[in-house]
């Protein structure tokens, strides 16, 4: 078989295999922008599946009541007794569930989907109901992410055998030949009888290990895919090319490291793939391993290194921090309270029914209609969680370095410990020379903050104005994410580089004050720690322009700064 795979041919093969063993393979993650190619693939998959297969679309940000099931509001109110409603997972039992914009899926939703994939059923304990329903679903994650750092939650990806990238496929390529529904039916019948030798299993495990795939699910998924491939080809046992296909489709896209160079004692030239056809199909496990590795390598994504570099930075999935928690109607539900249904409050239906329930006999006698009085109404309460992101803006210019960059670093370290206690995020901006540099985007990882701080060199001019401009941009981004920024500026306040990068103390100072006033206008809390040997007018006036507190370092030990930050 050819290793240089035609992307669309691979995609059709993947669709066929998924149609053969939808439950076993878990599903596919499909990276593609919405468009004719993606539609063509989905249409193909649909024709390959039995006609009655459920096909549901899961909108982003689905509520638990729709995902898992819950109380049917209309029916409950009408009949006066709790009526359960099936969730979308139960509706999709035995079929497909399409996740729109999967790269923005919240981790909570992903965890619920993962639980359904693992157990084959959906369990919900909510709204006074206990629901259990079979939910053997196959997930198609429609990943519309563009950058390498946008992808569906890892917990979900781990459980989906296939990972396809349709981005490079031109719409004209989608007319290639595909297996027919008849072939799929035959293969489905054959699937339970397919044998896989221990060598296949070992080779798949070894290949996964070589590619740095830690999780044990991928080799298992690869094994299932190899079986499905054998069934599609009408074989009774998994052949080498089935295993190679599994390595290419399942293991290759998950590689986290390029395979190490072959060990010296191994025979250097791997057997050419064509020999497999002439020889009896019985390669030794080592040979098979090499073939699989070669197959998987062909599918290793080109941007692997980029992804690896990004990996440590991406500990949180988009969606966690993306939710804005400013509205009084949103946030974490924390129960309910009696109240009026007005002013945009939201009804807590179950609690209202509960409150009304004990009085029904007194109020209405035998009528089946539910009688709800005003005092029964319960309103949902939400707790807003506003996370603080502390923005350290550190002056690393020559004048500051001369004086006490080391001390400033020490102070920041103490502040970092404080931030840890408060579960704050921290970001680190340093400025020197002609501009500011973002050393660390907002993160929870204090270890990384400390590292980048320790590596901070000093020297150069003091471009306070452009540093404050950049701080404002970052603070704005933080605010738009629903968090509260807090600016901690450590400087001696002696600006000498203007926005355009030209030296000149007077203009630099004027621009710095202007930038500071812009921050004040944006209502960003600030704190200026003056690092100069003696408290000076420059720092004080800058702090005044910022509308923030002024703390001269000579009088303040680190603990005092930390108290000040706490108070801010």
């Amino acid at each position: 078989m050819t290793l240089a795979a035609e992307p669309w041919a691979d995609a059709t093969r993947a669709a066929a295999l998924l149609a053969i063993d939808p439950a076993g393979l878990g599903g596919a993650s499909l990276r593609a922008p919405p468009g004719p190619v993606r539609d063509a693939w989905l249409a193909l998959l649909r024709t390959l599946l039995p006609p009655a297969t459920p096909w549901r679309r899961l909108p982003l940000g689905i509520a638990d009541s729709r995902l898992l099931g819950g109380l049917d509001l209309a029916a409950t109110l009408q009949s006066g007794r709790p009526v359960a409603e099936r969730g979308i997972l139960a509706e999709a039992d035995g079929g497909l569930l399409l996740l729109a914009m999967a790269e923005r899926l919240a981790p909570g939703t992903a965890a619920r989907l993962a639980a359904a994939l693992d157990t084959g059923e959906v369990a919900a304990e909510r709204d006074g109901l206990t629901l259990r329903a079979p939910a053997r679903v196959t997930l198609i994650a429609l990943d519309e992410g563009i950058g390498p750092d946008e992808s569906p939650p890892a917990a979900l990806l781990d459980r989906l055998a296939l990972r396809l990238d349709l981005t490079p496929i031109p719409p004209s390529a989608t007319r290639a030949l595909a297996p027919t529904a008849g072939q799929i039916i035959a293969a489905r019948a054959l699937l339970p009888r397919i044998a896989a030798g221990p060598d296949v299993l070992e080779a798949l495990c070894a290949t996964a290990a070589t590619l740095g795939i830690d999780s044990l699910r991928p080799p298992l998924l690869a094994l299932r895919l190899a079986r499905a491939a054998a069934a599609l080809a009408g074989r009774e046992a998994v052949a080498e090319e089935d295993a190679a296909l599994a390595a290419r489709l399942v293991l290759g896209p998950r590689a986290t490291q390029a395979p190490a160079a072959p060990e010296p004692e191994a025979p250097p030239p791997p057997p050419p793939p064509e020999t497999a056809e002439d020889q009896p199909p019985q390669p030794s496990p080592e040979q098979l391993g090499e073939i699989l590795l070669a197959a998987a390598e062909a599918a290793i994504p080109a941007g692997l290194l980029d992804q690896l570099r990004l990996a440590p930075a991406r500990t949180r999935t988009p969606g966690t921090s993306g939710t804005r928690r400013a509205s009084p109607l949103r946030g974490r539900p924390i129960g309910s309270r009696p109240g009026d249904l007005r002013g945009g409050t939201r009804l807590a239906l179950v609690d209202t029914l509960r409150a009304a329930a004990p009085w029904q006999r007194l109020r209405g006698g035998g009528s089946p209609r539910l009688r709800i009085a005003r005092e029964d109404i319960r309103i949902r309460r939400f707790q807003q969680r506003s996370e603080t992101a502390t923005l350290f803006l550190v002056d690393a210019s020559g004048s500051a370095a001369l004086h006490r960059l080391a001390e400033a670093k020490g102070a920041v370290e103490l502040l970092l410990a404080e931030c840890y206690v408060r579960r704050d995020r921290v970001a680190l901006l340093a400025f020197r020379g002609t501009g500011a540099e973002l050393l660390l985007p907002p993160t929870h990882s204090l270890v990384r903050a400390r590292r980048s701080l320790a590596a901070l060199p000093g020297g150069g001019g003091t471009p306070i104005a452009s540093a404050l401009d950049q701080a404002l941009a970052l603070a704005d981004a933080i605010q738009r994410r629903g968090q509260t920024p807090l600016l901690v500026l450590l400087t001696d306040g002696r600006a000498n580089i203007a926005r355009d990068g030209r030296p000149g103390r007077e203009r630099a100072m004027a621009e710095a004050l202007e930038a500071a006033r812009a921050l004040r206008a944006a209502r960003i809390a600030a704190l200026l720690v003056d690092t100069s040997p003696r408290p000076q007018e420059a720092g004080r006036s800058l702090a005044a322009a910022l509308g923030g507190r002024y703390i001269p370092l000579p009088y303040a030990d680190a603990a005092a700064i930390s108290r000040a930050v706490r108070a801010a």
């Binding site: 076993g24 639980a115 693992d118 369990a123 709204d127 890892a154 999780s215």
Partner: protein, 340 residues
């Protein structure tokens, strides 16, 4: 948990520390819960779901919604106390899954709306806590659970009693269960004050060596292709493990605790600077359960050394800027204390 056959506990490859922690909790449910944190696809859920099939059935009072123990007079629920005589039946140990998205009313129990609406009767509908009484309550992805629910669960797990005061109901019922939480640290950390309330904490990683990885896949594949054959094949090992758990439970009260072991435990906790006495108590208790499981007569150094990492690693006061992993710190302290 319905219909599906569970993967046999004894067929789980490796993950010795996790299996040990779960077995200790099965021998001595008073240990205070187990937290399993680690990589994806390491069989965290598999191990816990296997428990129901592994553990022997327990005697219960027939018809009691809380499955009261007929032998334990002090822990009977109000209803069993008032209604006598009791008839005893056997029931499997409950291993209850707490699904994500569960609401407070279903966890604690609440007014039965159905009966209240239809019959005007104020009756209590027991929740998941009642169902988990005398068994295990399992929360997968515990770090994704709402904080207030986790607080509530830990509180009930510690007190052994669920007190419901809502909607005009005032109910208390026994709810003694082992809380088992699992999660993946990549999806968010657990609050430190929560960590400390779990008795044992286990870190799981995927096996690195190829033979055991292959063995994992082989067994999993064999199980999936023929669940009943696979389970039958392992039934001998399961029965043996069950027998050892039962024997350990009977032996547990007789395990001696020499002063030297107590002193070692105290010194270890001092060296690590664990807050409070909970660390020491758990350490001793776990070591005792392990000694009973291994058939020893008393708690010795070997038992202490084995249970020290799971009993202590989550109780260290963490310096946010110290990159050393807690496990390493515990191991270092063990090496110092236990070398004569």
């Amino acid at each position: 948990m319905t219909g599906r056959r569970a993967f046999p506990f004894s067929a789980i490859v490796g993950q010795e520390e996790m299996k040990l922690a779960i077995l200790i909790a099965a021998i001595d449910p008073g240990i205070g819960g187990v937290l399993v944190f680690g990589d994806r696809g390491t069989g965290k859920s598999t191990a816990i779901r296997a428990l129901a099939a592994l553990l022997p059935e327990i005697p219960v009072i027939e018809g009691c919604p809380y499955r009261c123990d007929p032998a334990d007079e002090a822990a009977l629920c109000a209803e069993c106390r008032s209604r006598r005589p009791h008839r005893t039946a056997m029931a499997p140990v409950p291993v209850v899954d707490l699904p994500l998205g569960a609401t407070e009313d279903r966890v604690l129990g609440a007014l039965d709306i159905q009966r209240a609406l239809a019959e005007g009767v104020k009756s209590f509908e027991p929740g998941l806590l009642a169902r988990a009484h005398r068994g295990f309550l399992y929360i997968d992805e515990v770090n994704l659970l709402e904080d207030h629910l986790v607080d509530l669960l830990l509180d009930v797990a510690a007190s052994g009693e669920n007190v419901v005061e809502r909607e005009g109901l005032s109910i208390r019922h026994p709810a003694r269960f082992v809380l088992v939480g699992s999660g993946n640290p990549e999806e968010g950390e657990l609050r430190p004050q929560l960590l400390d309330r779990f008795g044992l904490s286990v870190e799981v990683t995927t096996p690195r060596d190829l033979p055991s990885r292959i063995e994992v896949i082989r067994r999993r594949d064999a199980f999936e292709r023929d669940p009943s054959g696979f389970t039958a094949h392992w039934s001998g090992a399961e029965a043996e493990l069950r027998r050892r758990i039962l024997a350990a439970r009977t032996r547990l009260p007789d395990i001696a605790l020499p002063d030297s072991a107590l002193e070692r435990a105290a010194r270890l906790c001092l060296a690590l600077g664990t807050d409070g006495l909970r660390g020491e108590l758990t350490l001793i208790r776990a070591a005792r359960a392990l000694a009973a499981f291994e058939g020893e007569a008393e708690v010795d150094d070997a038992a202490l050394r084995r249970v020290a990492p799971p009993a202590l690693r989550h109780r260290l006061r963490r310096n946010p800027l110290d990159e050393a992993v807690s496990t390493t710190r515990v191991e270092r302290a063990i090496a110092e204390i236990f070398t004569p």
